[in-house]
Point group: C2
Chain length 236, copies 2
DNA sequence: TACAAAAAGAGAGCACTGCTCTTGCTTTGG
DNA sequence: CCAAAGCAAGAGCAGTGCTCTCTTTTTGTA
């Protein structure tokens, strides 16, 4: 995760530290998958690893620091799933790539519900994500921007309307996120990005219970509509 | 909250029980607003109320039961805010009512972030919402259905396209939720419902930090687009 | 190579949590 | 009137995050 400044760890101790750190995170991830973030216990992790709880604080100075490490890993794991779907659809139409990436995000979420809740559910109280999580957290968003850019550079796309009151904000966002795209598109894109997580969250957290049954099909259709809204669909 | 079967409590003891129960919930809500659900402590609540912790278990058999009561209250509080906005816009165009209700939901969420997180964030681990929460949880959804119905009965509305693979599910949802509306509309409506919470959740949980600044304007536009997608906007 | 410094583990302990059980006291209803 | 039910209080259990001290082990360097 951290950049490998010197790929040769200075000694046996440094190597051991890396291994123990990884072991702690692995065991913590295991407990996370079973019981969720709120029940993750440092003492239980240490117990399972055969070490005493106070020794664990040599590796993570607090429970929140462990959680932060897990959050960054989760963002990266999710990002890799999404990027894999993106790669696999190279050459396909932008709308299809969009749907594929969205489905990869959904699939990862369904497969790792507690990790998903950790990063996109309510943040752990009193905990605000440190700056270190930003790059990992951006990966999916960048992917969606990339797909849109590809479509735009390919043949342009239908711009949604933009009310005058939103234009300043739209131009600010555009300058920050994708200066080569029209503000109308960037605005819709950001909304679609948030809406994607609404769809996934409702499914994952049980709001669709007794409402939506064929959730995969429903999701595919909904994110297809999102792609349409962004302007990725030309034909028909 | 609970239906007043006999509005005259049988005696002084019953009255006291109601009052103590309310006091516990109030204090718990106070702590919830400050520290969030995970740090809500029965002992702290009891302490603040001048009672010993074990006495609290006469009123709520467990921490989860207290949380469930708070969840139902939160759903109802949110529902009332939304319904107030709905009433206040009686006679207005459906799209305007839609936006007003969505803004009421957002306003309530921003004003009660921890309560919002309690009901729409990641569910408390190992905790699945009991059936008792269903009616309270449905109020906002019913409102959105009502607005759409009003628009439909008024002058009909533009139906979005519906792919064949989704038609069975769309018809099932329609039969369950609003048999008098076209399946195309119901499907889009359910998606919009989830997407609304995506928009609010991203704002509330910090995902829009350094991305969207003028969030009120952005939100108004985004939910206006949702209304458009459902078919509530006729003109222009 | 000897040695001080840094890193790591072990254990005890503090203040807190949810929850249970027992012991008394008070209100209630037959 | 009096047993029964409801309620409060206190002690106690097992667990938590975290800190502090003490000892051992591994370092980089004089």
């Amino acid at each position: 995760m951290s950049p490998a400044d010197d790929s040769t760890p200075r000694g046996a101790r440094a190597r051991a530290r890396i291994e123990v750190t990884a072991a702690i995170k692995d065991e913590a991830r295991r407990q996370l998958a079973v019981d969720g973030a709120a029940k993750l216990s440092l003492r239980a992790v240490a117990r399972e690893l055969g070490m005493v709880s106070s020794a664990l604080y040599r590796y993570f100075p607090s429970r929140d620091d462990l959680l932060t490490a897990l959050i960054i890993d989760a963002y990266n794991s999710l990002g890799e799933s999404a990027e894999a779907a993106h790669r696999k659809t190279a050459g396909a139409a932008p709308a299809q790539r969009w749907v594929a990436v969205c489905e990869a995000v959904r699939g990862w979420a369904l497969g790792n519900p507690h990790e998903y809740a950790l990063i996109y559910g309510s943040p752990v109280p009193g905990y605000s994500a440190p700056e270190a999580t930003v790059p990992a957290a951006s990966r999916v968003g960048l992917l969606l921007i990339g797909i849109t850019r590809e479509a735009y550079q390919g043949r342009g796309l239908a711009k949604p309307r933009l009310p005058a009151e939103l234009r300043p904000e739209a131009e600010r966002m555009t300058a920050d996120l994708a200066p080569d795209l029209p503000p109308e598109t960037v605005t819709t894109l950001v909304a679609a990005w948030a809406q994607l997580y609404g769809l996934i969250g409702f499914e994952l957290f049980g709001q669709f219970k007794r409402v939506v049954e064929d959730r995969a099909t429903f999701f595919r259709h909904a994110v297809g509509q999102l792609a349409h809204g962004v302007g990725l669909v030309h034909g028909e």
